[in-house]
C-alpha cells in the first residue's frame, strides 16, 4: 500500500498585487508564485491557469507514482479520472478566483446566498423522516452523473458571464 505521505501534495500560493496608472487609467496586475512543498519546485505566474497547470502536473506525477505497480490499463484509467477532475477545476476555478478578485463583496454575497439555499434545503430534508433502508452506496454512474452536472453547470456559468459582460458593454 502507498504511504499517506506519498499520497499528499501541498501547495503554497503567493499573490502579489500591483496597482498602477497607465494611460490615465488605473490598472491592476497580479503576480504569483506557487510552490510544491514536497519537492520544493516553484513556478511564477501572472495567469492563474499556469498555476493550475503546475498543480495538475504535480498531482499527475503523484498519481503515476502511486499507481506504478498497477497494469498500464488500470494506470491509464486512474490518470484519466484525475485529469477529468482537473478539467473541471481548470474550467471553473479561475473564474471563481477572477470574480472574487474583481468584486469580492459580490462574490461573497453570492457564496453566502448559495450556502443559505443549501441550509434551507438540508433543513427541509431533515424535517422529513429519513428512509434509511432505501439508502445505497454511490455507484460509479452516480459519480459520472455528478461530474457531468458540474461540467454543465460550469459551462452555464461561463455563458452567463459572457452575457453579463455583453450587457455591461451596452
Amino acid at each position: 500500500m502507498t504511504k499517506k505521505q506519498d499520497q499528499t501534495a501541498s501547495f503554497m500560493v503567493r499573490f502579489n498585487q500591483r496597482i498602477f496608472e497607465e494611460k490615465g487609467e488605473s490598472q491592476l496586475q497580479w503576480r504569483g508564485k506557487i510552490s510544491h512543498e514536497q519537492d520544493g519546485a516553484e513556478k511564477r505566474f501572472s495567469d492563474f491557469n499556469d498555476a493550475l497547470l503546475f498543480m495538475q502536473q504535480k498531482l499527475g506525477e503523484l498519481t503515476e507514482e502511486a499507481t506504478k505497480h498497477q497494469t498500464t490499463e488500470e494506470q491509464e484509467n486512474i490518470v484519466q479520472k484525475s485529469l477529468s477532475m482537473w478539467k473541471t477545476i481548470k474550467d471553473f476555478g479561475p473564474k471563481v478566483i477572477r470574480d472574487t478578485l474583481k468584486d469580492p463583496k459580490k462574490q461573497f454575497n453570492h457564496l453566502q446566498d448559495e450556502i443559505q439555499d443549501k441550509i434551507s434545503l438540508i433543513g427541509d430534508e431533515i424535517s422529513e423522516k429519513v428512509q434509511i433502508d432505501q439508502w445505497r452506496n454511490a455507484s460509479r454512474s452516480d459519480f459520472n452523473k455528478i461530474q457531468s452536472q458540474i461540467e454543465s453547470l460550469s459551462s452555464e456559468i461561463t455563458k452567463l458571464s459572457t452575457k453579463i459582460d455583453a450587457i455591461k458593454k451596452k
Binding site: 504511504k3 499517506k4 505521505q5 499528499t8 501541498s10 503554497m12 503567493r14 500591483r18 498602477f20 496608472e21 497607465e22 496586475q29 503576480r31 508564485k33 510552490s35 512543498e37 514536497q38 519537492d39 520544493g40 511564477r44 505566474f45 501572472s46
Partner: protein, 267 residues
Amino acid sequence: MSHFLLQLQELESFKEDAQIRIETLGHFCVWRNHQKVDNKEWARDKTIQLLQYFISNRKRNALHKEKIMDGLWEDWNDRDFKVALHGIHKVLEPERLSRTESEYIIRQGVSYQIDLEKVWIDVEALEKYIIIGNEAFVVDKSISKKAYKAAIDLYKGSYLPNRIFEDWTSEEREKTQLLILGAYITLAEILLEENPLESIRLAQNALAIDATWEDAYRIQMQAYILKGNRPQAIKTYMKCEVILEEEYGISPLPETKKLLKEIEEIQ
C-alpha cells in the same frame, strides 16, 4: 523614553535573560542557560520535530495531542508522542523533577503549547521587531531603523531549512520571508539619501530571496544614481526587465520605466 524604544529594550532584555533560546532561521539551534544544546542530547529526530511543530504553531491555542501527531507523523501511537515530549522536557529542563509540570511547554489536559513568555524564539522576535518598525515608521524613523535592523540581524536564512519538504513548516517560512522582504525594502528606502550603498546591499538581500521583487530594483537604480553610477542604474533596469520577462512574461511597472527614462535623461 518613548514607548517604542521601551519595547525595543524589552525585546533585547528578553533575549539576554531567557533561559531557553531557540534559533530557527537558517539553522536550528537551542540554547539552554546560555549554552548551546549538543545535537546528541536530542537522541531522536521525532523529539526535534515535536518541538519544531510547537514553534510553527505557537500562535494557535494549545493543540490537541492527536492533532499534533496527525500533522507530524504518518503512523503514530501514544508512545511516540510521550517519548518525544519526554525528550523535549529532558533537553529543556534536565533538572526537572518527575511528575512536576514543565516550565516551557504548557499543558492543558491533553493539549500543549510552547510558553512564549519564557522561551525566546528568533522568528517570534523578528516579527515583533518588524511590528515596532512599522508602527514607528510614521512617528520616528530613527526607531523604525533600529527595529528593522534588529529584525534583519535575526534573519540568518529561511525558516527551518532542513524541513523544507514538511508542509507544516511552509506557512511560517512564507510569512517570515514576506516580513523580511518588507523590512529590507523599507529600511533601504529610509537609508536611500543617507547611505545609498547600504540601500543597494539591502535591496540585493531582498533580491537574493526573491529575484522578481521589482521594488528592490527600483531602489538600486535610485541608489546608483545618487552614487553617480548611471551605467549601473541602467544595467539594473535591464536585469529587472529580463527577470520579469523570464519569470512572468511581463514588463516592468510604469513607475520603473519612468525612473529609467529619468535616468536616461540625466546628462
